[in-house]
């Protein structure tokens, strides 16, 4: 299988701090690859090494078959990059910015086409600061496509957006994926990774803790379902859970609401209902939900991604 990015034992140190600590992964041609993790996990630094913006302190990284350290220009020519929290020129219109940046590449996509794709055709002659947050973000995605790149790298594309703007951005990312491009994106929104990514690497404190498709990451959990049981009074559960359930670290706020990690819901639910009846508690609510990427992260790190 064609690999678009290959990273091997990548290390980046800033003085005493090791921001990227021996990271290895590969991105396959045509997939949407996500790097998820909390702020400060080393996601952006990893991407910036691949983009040729920072030299690595150790390890190897290559993209599109070229070594990044030795041929940064060749790689830059063929990838598209959206940089986290990066702005553009204040006094140029959207069309002017796109045309200017397209001019830096050998392959150029007309600004009209790009603006049409991100739904900003009517804003072609507007300056960036007059756009809404969602429009700005869609514009920076458009700006990453000026050279019709094979590989598009988006760093936290939806940070700071409201839910509607985020959905619209997701649709845009899916459309880009539909044009046979490989995408790499970072996010600290688990549902975003779940909505968009074929495979994700879970990154924390400079290391990749797990890397797989999302269904498989969830399957690999000890328990791939969560049961939330809300009763009229707190239940007294047997401590061992008889091997059927385990209390979940999440959701301890209300003693009348139990959150359990469960592998076999059909086997567990009758027992729980029976237990509640015997202890004289009314069941107010009973939910069975599949485990999410958030649960995977919790399992791997012992804390929530937003903590």
């Amino acid at each position: 299988m064609d690999m678009v990015i290959e990273v091997e034992g990548l290390v980046k140190r800033f003085g005493p701090l090791t921001a990227v600590d021996g990271v290895s992964f590969s991105v396959r041609k045509g997939e949407v690859f996500g790097i998820v993790g909390p702020n400060g996990a080393g996601k952006t630094t990893t991407l910036e090494i691949i983009e040729g913006l920072q030299p690595a302190s150790g390890g190897r990284a290559s993209a599109l078959g070229m070594d990044i350290a030795s041929s940064p220009l060749g790689i830059k020519e063929r990838i598209g990059v959206q940089i986290q929290a990066s702005a553009y020129f204040d006094y140029l219109t959207l069309a002017e910015i796109l045309d200017l940046f397209a001019g830096f590449y050998k392959t150029r996509v007309p600004s009209r086409e790009l603006l049409e794709m991100v739904g900003l055709t009517d804003k072609a002659k507007t300056v960036l600061k007059k756009l809404s947050g969602g429009q700005k973000q869609r514009f920076t995605v458009a700006a990453s496509l000026v050279n019709d790149p094979e590989l598009v790298i988006l760093d936290e594309p939806s940070t700071g957006l409201d839910p509607a703007a985020r959905r619209s951005l997701w649709n845009l990312i899916r459309r880009i994926h539909g044009q046979n491009k490989t995408l790499v994106l970072t996010t600290h929104y688990m549902e975003e990774a779940q909505a968009l990514c074929d495979r994700v690497a879970i990154m924390d404190r400079g290391k990749i803790l797990a890397l797989d498709t999302i269904p498989r990451l969830i399957q690999d959990l000890d328990a791939s379902y969560r049961v939330i049981l809300t009763t009229s009074k707190p239940l007294d559960l047997p401590p061992d859970g008889q091997g059927l359930w385990e209390p979940d670290a999440q959701g301890r706020d209300d003693p009348r609401s139990l959150r359990l990690k469960v592998n076999d819901p059909p086997g567990v639910l009758p027992r729980l209902i029976d237990l509640a009846a015997r202890q004289g508690a009314d069941i107010h609510d009973l939910q069975v939900i599949p485990a999410t990427l958030e649960d995977v992260f919790l399992e791997l790190t012992g804390r929530g991604i937003m903590d």
């Binding site: 702005a87 553009y88 045309d99």
Partner: protein
């Protein structure tokens, strides 16, 4: 490269703040100094109170009236009234010809000294020396006449400079140097620190564009701006306020371009290190303001105390303004300013090295 240049020029024209610094700010100085006519000496208001009313005092009065510099009024009757008018600022000077003057008899030989009193306001420091000199000269001449001594020595004034250089002409070239300096240091400093803060440099670095192309486009844009700026200042100075500059325009623009590179480098150094555009603006002003005053934009600096004149000579704005004045006012050929040009070239090298060392993308 061409696109980048065009885009840069476009941005500059649309950026009102840049335009203000580049064009309006120095023009304000030109207009202010042009309107106030700081170069010429305006007549001063002086009241002469003739308490003697003798042939001698009337003779002094008549001769003083011939002096163009003095605008004589005789509406004050007493010495006290005239003194009060000076104290209250209604009058700049009052000269009292005392009653004793009537007793001076040329035929009677030496007698007791007679004092003419000159009241003046110390705030008028620019003209005080002059007026005291003029009045003193009259007193001396009156003395000589009384002694009936022939006037053997006198001054025949003959201006040696072929052209009439006014303070405004000199100032105008100082303003050109100042404007180019401010435009380059402040505008580039603020712009570059803003680009760093907004990670625009990162975005450019992520493209195949060599960063030196970006810097080259930035430098060329600002050189063009500096030329336009110098042209406008000189045009307004010459055509609106009548400055007389016999020199050739071309050497002026060469000097403007070279010195502009020095100031751009300083701007890059400041913008490449300052934490925010506001910090860069402050820092740029800290660097530019003292140079504006110490490099002789507004007044000569030879009389500064201690080591300052030596220090001032090596500031980059000093050779810039000196060379500009030499070619524009004295009409000297460009190569005659080689000591200044050599110093500017040295500054280009030194400031580029500092900028390269100071610059941080993050």
């Amino acid at each position: 490269m061409g696109r980048l240049l065009l885009a840069n020029l476009r941005m500059t024209v649309r950026d009102r703040q840049t335009l203000f610094w580049a064009l309006v700010f120095p023009l304000i100085f030109v207009v202010v100094f042009g309107l106030f006519d700081v170069g010429g000496t305006n007549p001063v208001d002086i009241a002469i109170v003739d308490l003697a009313d003798s042939p001698l005092s009337r003779n002094i009065l008549e001769r003083l009236e011939e002096v163009e510099l003095l605008d004589i009024s005789g509406e004050h009757d007493t010495a006290e009234a005239a003194k009060l008018a000076v104290e209250e600022g209604d009058l700049e000077y009052a000269l009292i010809l005392p009653q004793e003057l009537a007793d001076v008899d040329p035929a009677a030989g030496p007698g007791p000294p007679v004092f003419l009193t000159l009241y003046f306001n110390q705030a008028n420091f620019q003209t005080n020396q002059l007026i005291r000199g003029v009045v003193g000269e009259f007193a001396n001449r009156a003395n000589l006449n009384l002694a009936q001594a022939p006037q053997r020595i006198s001054v025949a004034p003959e201006p040696v400079q072929s052209i009439d250089v006014t303070y405004f002409d000199v100032l105008l070239l100082g303003l050109v140097g100042m404007a180019v300096m401010f435009n380059s240091i402040v505008v580039i400093g603020v712009k570059v620190s803003g680009y760093r803060q907004n990670r625009i440099f990162h975005r450019i670095l992520a493209t195949p564009l060599p960063l030196r192309n970006y810097f080259a486009a930035e430098v060329v844009t600002h050189l063009v701006l500096a030329m336009i700026q110098a042209g406008i200042i000189l045009a307004v100075g010459v055509w609106v306020f009548g400055a007389k500059l016999p020199g050739n325009a071309l050497p002026v623009f060469v000097i403007v371009a070279l010195s502009s590179i020095v100031f751009l480098n300083i701007g890059f150094a400041i913008g490449g290190r300052a934490g925010s555009p506001a910090a860069a603006s402050g820092l740029a002003n800290v660097v530019a303001m003292p140079m504006m005053f110490f490099s002789g934009t507004f007044f000569p600096t030879a009389n500064l105390p201690a080591f300052l004149p030596e220090l001032v000579k090596v500031l980059p704005l000093t050779p810039t303004i000196d060379a500009l004045r030499a070619v524009a006012i004295d009409g000297e050929p460009l190569w005659n300013t080689w000591p200044q040009l050599a110093m500017i070239l040295g500054w280009i090298g030194a400031s580029a090295a500092v900028a390269a060392k100071m610059f941080r993308f993050n």
